[in-house]
Subunit: 209 residues, 2 copies
DNA sequence: CCTTGTGAATATGTTCACAGCA
DNA sequence: TGCTGTGAACATATTCACAAGG
């Protein structure tokens, strides 16, 4: 029986769903039709019980004795994660990182589209980058209204990241993915996630003695 | 009293240390000399007790009534994380993401240096990228021996990522940071971490209803 | 006063183990 | 048989709350 409506689902569970979805879609691309919590768990290095419990928060998606229909489960996960649609995303920063993000072809199939890129550098404004042209950061508010974007990516130098975040929040954005190596200060209704490769490196070197 | 030698320190604690270090260094750059677990916690959005307990696994770094000396604590954290030196890192993939990583100027100050970049595309081999020239992926083993690298970054398309990982492992690398959206299969002595912006986006859209 | 470091208490997360169904 | 879904048991992580030091 589904628990969609009871209490609250732990954030850590939500965080694993995209990984399940990603893996299931790779299995589907491989021509596979069904899988089991055990197979999935072995592939991901987690226990089958964890996968079953995670999914059980949202409903009953499997069949006893058989396992999970991959395309059905993909569809369910996409609905749960609200990626059964395309979300517009704005990108701030047209440096080499911004360029790499803008040119990445893998967003659309997973629910996201870069609809605007901003920079303050007049040499970059107007330049084509990935699917769009670099726009003046001063046009931020207007373009956010036009596109309806709720998600932003920050790919600017550390010393301007907080200032950019402040303006994104002021423009009404509520989800920020920050590539700058700094913890942003934002109102509590704004969700911020971080990508910083050095954090991962330093985590690794702890174990390299 | 230090617990460096007792039992085992939880991985989740290790994972937070680089964030503490990053924040402390920004405070130091701001000219600050001391801070407290409370100030740090407020800035990071976590409890002061958690910071104190995390640090207590490694020793006593603070002074009652005063707090922590920032540069001292930075030094201690750098030693704990083994980033009181520069680690050579090899990068596989000279596309736009590889280019962004190679050109990023922020690694060195935090303990890492890109010492080699590999690609299979003969049009890219020999080209200058960041601090080095793109090398033939076939030279991987030799260059790893020469540089002593233990850490690799995978920035190649999804469909070749597992093959690249296999070769990195065969060449003796033990730490891999993977930007391809796929869970790699590796021997248990190899530590793999992942960066996939879409995982973060999908986590966010769950809450955007 | 202030702030640390830490056992004890609490809260959260994971795994076990099995009933129940294809 | 083989596998799911799930309470109960267990393990891990976080917070509380306070003694002790400056």
């Amino acid at each position: 029986m589904s628990k969609r409506n009871s209490k609250e689902i732990p954030d850590i569970v939500i965080g694993r769903l995209p990984v399940y979805l990603r893996t299931l879609r790779l299995l589907a691309d491989d021509g596979r039709d069904v899988t089991s919590s055990q197979e999935l768990g072995e592939h991901l290095g987690i226990s089958s019980a964890q996968i079953r419990k995670d999914l059980s928060h949202f409903g009953e998606f499997g069949k006893q004795g058989t396992g999970y229909n991959i395309s059905f489960l993909c569809n369910q996960l996409q609905k749960i994660l609200n990626v059964d649609r395309i979300w517009p995303v704005v990108l701030v920063g047209a440096g080499s990182l911004g360029n790499a993000i803008a040119n990445y072809a893998g967003f659309e199939s997973r629910g996201f589209r870069i609809v605007a890129i901003f920079d303050e550098d007049s040499k970059k404004i107007g330049q084509a980058m990935g699917p769009v042209h670099v726009d003046d950061f001063a046009h931020l508010s207007r373009r956010i209204e036009e596109t309806g974007a709720q998600i932003a990516v920050i790919a600017v130098p550390t010393h301007v990241a907080q200032r950019v975040a402040d303006q994104l929040v002021e423009a009404g954005l509520v989800s920020i993915l920050c590539y700058a190596p700094i913890t942003l200060t934002t109102p509590s209704h704004v969700r911020v996630e971080y990508i910083d490769p050095v954090i991962h490196f330093q985590h690794m070197t702890y174990y390299l003695g």
